[in-house]
């Protein structure tokens, strides 16, 4: 322990330096979280009538809420699988001693720097059944034209999301791959393991922490997707891409029902937090066995 006077002085300095942060996080994180929970128990246009768990029982029984939640989960699953398969595939390719590695890495990362507004608008144009350039290209190749946003809307916006984000997961996997010591692979080579074997028995298990991190991040961002539904499909056709946050946004700002939308926010938050904790725990257990 330090002498009391000194530690007392430094404690004061610490708190002095921390004051803006404490005020900021109280006002813009903890107060809003308290408010969203408080509002979730209220109803009416001013959200001033107490309804207890009314919003929650209503939300859990509401087919529209259930539907939007289920498709949001489906969307996240698509994004996670795509992120892992494509991100890992590209990272494995770029982990080889190839010329132009840096250039490829840069090119693949570019869409990650664009706003969801750009991505949404651009792909809405490209995918348009009448004036979209993609159908034009398919026609030139002698392939049938597609109504992407009508036949497979959820899959299509998931693919667009992957187009934007795969460079990011690729970089994470590349970092993970570079953390695996060369000697492991060399030893396995001497023991006669072929490339396929080395991938399954060495690379993949040692990448487990990276894979876990990538999947947690992809699920969390997938469950919060908004711009894709807002810009590309406006939730449609019908309610096919009515993703949860888009649904909450509409209930709050178009239907002006803050109580009901707050309850849905809290429910989605609970799912996200529970999911994150389970995954992180599973990850910790997984690491022990390797």
């Amino acid at each position: 322990m330090r002498p009391r006077t000194l530690s007392g002085r430094y404690a004061r300095t610490a708190y002095l330096f921390l004051t803006p942060a404490i005020l900021f996080f109280a006002a813009f994180f903890y107060l809003p979280i308290g408010n969203v929970v408080a509002t979730s128990f209220r109803t009416g246009p001013q959200a001033d009538q107490w309804t207890g768990l009314g919003n929650y029982t209503q939300a859990l029984a509401d087919p529209a809420v259930r539907h939007s939640f289920l498709i949001t989960v489906a969307f996240s699953v698509l994004v996670v699988i795509g992120s892992i398969v494509l991100g890992l595939g590209l990272a494995l390719a770029l982990d080889q001693p190839l010329k132009g590695r840096v250039a490829f890495r840069v090119l693949l990362l570019v869409p990650y720097l664009t706003s969801v507004a750009i991505v949404g608008l651009l792909w809405r144009n490209i995918l348009d059944p009448e004036l979209g350039v993609l159908n034009r290209v398919l026609g030139t190749l002698g392939l049938p034209e597609q109504q992407w946003l009508n036949t497979a809307p959820l899959l299509t916006i998931a693919a667009v999301t992957l187009w934007q984000n795969v460079g990011y997961t690729m970089v994470l996997f590349l970092a993970g791959l570079q953390g695996i010591p060369e000697t492991y692979h060399e030893a396995a080579k001497i023991d006669g393991a072929d490339a396929w074997h080395r991938f399954w028995r060495i690379t993949l298990p040692l990448l487990a922490p990276t894979t876990l991190f990538v999947s947690v991040m992809a699920v969390i961002s997938g469950l919060q997707a908004f711009g894709q539904a807002y810009i590309i499909t406006n939730g449609g056709p019908g309610d096919a891409t009515d993703l949860s946050v888009f649904h909450i946004f509409n209930v709050a700002f178009r239907a002006r029902d803050f109580g009901y939308s707050s309850a849905q926010s809290v429910l989605l938050l609970i799912v996200i937090v529970a999911f994150t904790l389970v995954q992180l725990r599973a990850g910790r257990r997984g690491e022990v066995t390797y």
Partner: protein, 268 residues
């Protein structure tokens, strides 16, 4: 043989990522008729550079640009001021409730933005801060990610350096400014870069917190083009190019930091 396959794969992937962005550039230089042609023009007959000027006459696009610069710039500056300071405190000071406060800070990482969206909207409406810069800026002045990044970076700086400065009679603020801050430059570069790019591209909060066209940022302004002005693709694309170019240029010069930043922190 195997190499050829790898190159094919990588070239194909790069084409898929880059060609749509080149198409955006092409769209931005087409006439309105070309953008609406069922034959999907790939290369415009004669580039319509005037589209970029038209942006400013058909919408308050100058406002969009200024708003984006002010908002993303102010938030980035705030992060660069606050995140290292708070990170320093958690890295080098012992004080009552230190661990509790640190856990409370990290817990905010688990709170996605949509959870704060409705109460923040109500708060801003009550304060009369909708359609104002302070309304767009204040919810993002600091974040736990940046603080955590800075703490990790400051922790290895030897305590002796700080104590020596104390013995020399330097004030605590002076120690922070002259001893700690100069050593954190690479981390500050990464932090500033990420903060600016993400805030520049931010969509949901500016959409919620602004209703007048004059207060929109570029990303939200772009979608206005689509709804209120009925899908003017040549202008939408031109606006997208203007939104994209600054981040692309910034990235070209800093891509090494960028890649390392993602790899180190997983920053999103």
């Amino acid at each position: 043989m195997r190499k050829a396959l790898l190159y094919t794969l990588l070239v194909l992937a790069s084409v898929i990522t880059i060609v749509p962005l080149l198409y955006m550039l092409s769209l931005s230089l087409q006439t309105e008729a070309e953008t609406l042609s069922a034959d999907a023009v790939l290369v415009p007959d004669s580039p319509q550079w005037g589209n970029y000027a038209e942006l400013f006459t058909r919408a308050p696009f100058g406002n969009f640009i200024v708003n984006s610069l002010v908002v993303a710039g102010a938030i980035t500056l705030a992060h660069l001021v606050f995140d290292p300071l708070v990170g320093y405190v958690f890295a080098k000071f012992r004080f009552p409730l230190r661990n509790t406060l640190f856990v409370a800070l990290l817990a905010t990482l688990m709170v996605p933005f949509f959870v704060r969206m409705i109460p923040l909207y109500v708060l801003m409406a009550n304060m009369g801060w909708l359609n104002t810069y302070q309304g767009l800026i204040t919810p993002f002045l600091m974040d736990a990610f940046g603080i955590f990044l800075m703490r990790q970076f400051i922790q290895p700086i030897p305590d002796d350096l700080i104590n020596a400065a104390r013995i020399d009679g330097a004030s605590e603020l002076r120690i922070y400014r002259s001893v700690i801050l100069p050593q954190t430059r690479p981390a500050l570069a990464v932090l500033g870069l990420f903060t600016f790019v993400f805030q520049w591209n931010e969509f949901l909060w500016p959409l919620v917190a602004t209703t007048t066209p004059e207060m929109r940022t570029i990303p939200v302004g772009l979608t206005l083009f689509n709804q209120e002005y009925f899908t003017l693709w040549h202008l939408t694309a031109a606006g997208s190019v203007i939104l994209f170019v600054p981040t692309a240029v910034l990235f070209l010069f800093t891509q090494r930091y960028f890649v390392r930043g993602i790899a180190l922190t997983g920053l999103r």
